[in-house]
């Protein structure tokens, strides 16, 4: 990534693939392609209100993106969990996963929001990488169960420290991600 604004080759190639996939589901992409004339756009805009729009969470293309991202994110989480051992009874792998995931999701959502409205390729990226990949990578249920198990071991102080540190650090990492994305965007755009 450069600080000097958009790099067409890097950004457009995956974006086009996603928007083609998106278009194949019947979803209107708000990102206009260069070949479309103003008249065509006006005609499309006129047709739009008459067509009942299926909510995003019931569109096949959106579900497919979340499924793909969620599968890959879960595989990455399980892979790391298998490789990294627990340290002193604490699930270190889970903690690292949740913190890295919070940071990356903060970067992703803030970058996308600063690039424009949540439509077309931006929305596809949010569903694939955010809702799918980072959502599947991080886990809250495992955090609850780990806290419960530390409590059941009779180590109340350790359980509280682990649980509170996990959620507070998660917010700090997400906030750091948001800040990183807003700094980079502000620096690159001007």
């Amino acid at each position: 990534m450069t600080d000097n604004g958009p790099c067409p080759l890097q950004r457009d190639a995956p974006g086009q693939v996603l928007s083609l996939w998106w278009a194949s589901t019947g979803q209107e992409t708000a990102m206009t392609t260069s070949g479309r004339t103003g008249d065509e756009q006006a005609a499309r805009a006129e047709r739009l209100p008459q067509r009942p729009v299926r909510p995003l969470h019931l569109q096949a293309g959106a579900l497919a993106l979340v499924l793909l991202g969620g599968t890959l994110g879960t595989a990455a989480r399980e892979g790391l969990t298998l490789v990294v051992p627990e340290v002193g009874g604490f699930p270190i792998a889970l903690s690292c996963i949740n913190l890295v995931g919070a940071l990356l999701l903060g970067v992703l959502l803030e970058s996308l929001a600063r690039r424009g409205p949540d439509t077309g390729p931006r929305r596809s990226l949010r569903l694939l990488l955010g809702t799918g990949l980072m959502g599947g990578f991080t886990s809250y249920s495992a955090l609850s169960l780990a806290t419960q198990q530390l409590l059941a071991d009779g180590t109340v102080g350790r359980a509280l420290a682990f649980a509170l540190l996990s959620v507070v650090l998660g917010v700090l990492f997400a906030f750091a991600g948001v800040l990183l994305a807003s700094r980079r965007r502000a620096g690159g755009a001007r």
């Binding site: 399980e78 959502l109 599947g136």
Partner: protein, 125 residues
């Protein structure tokens, strides 16, 4: 862990992520609130269910493989801590301090209690 279990577990995580996406969308379309109720509901119900399948494993009602696919796979993909963290940041940015704190600590306390309840229920089945 066998390759087959790993692949099944990962796919179950993808299905869990889809379930989260659909449920969150349904909640958002019905409840208009600054509080992210969809994610809260998902993380608490997922914690309850993970406790349940873990308790059932202890009571030998599930095989270890099935517990992994359902627990680490489906429920791991269904629940999410990254979204909960970012949503708390958004509440803080909007200066909704009480809601931010409630989201952070409420999910943690109720989620852990739900996991405990699930564990007890699963073992008692």
């Amino acid at each position: 862990m066998s390759v087959a279990v790993f692949i099944l577990l990962s796919l179950a995580g993808g299905v869990g992520a889809v379930a989260r996406f659909v449920l969150d969308g349904l909640v958002r379309s019905r409840v208009s609130s600054a509080m992210p109720w969809g994610t809260i509901l998902i993380n608490i119900s997922g914690s309850l269910l993970l406790g349940l399948v873990t308790g059932m494993l202890g009571a030998q009602l599930l095989t270890p493989e099935l517990q992994l696919v359902l627990g680490a796979g489906f429920l791991g993909g269904y629940t999410t801590s990254s979204t909960a963290s970012v949503e708390t940041v958004r509440l803080l940015q909007q200066r909704r301090m009480v809601l931010a704190l409630g989201n952070l600590l409420g999910t943690l306390v109720v989620g852990s209690a739900a996991a405990t309840l699930g564990l007890v229920l699963g073992a008692a089945l």
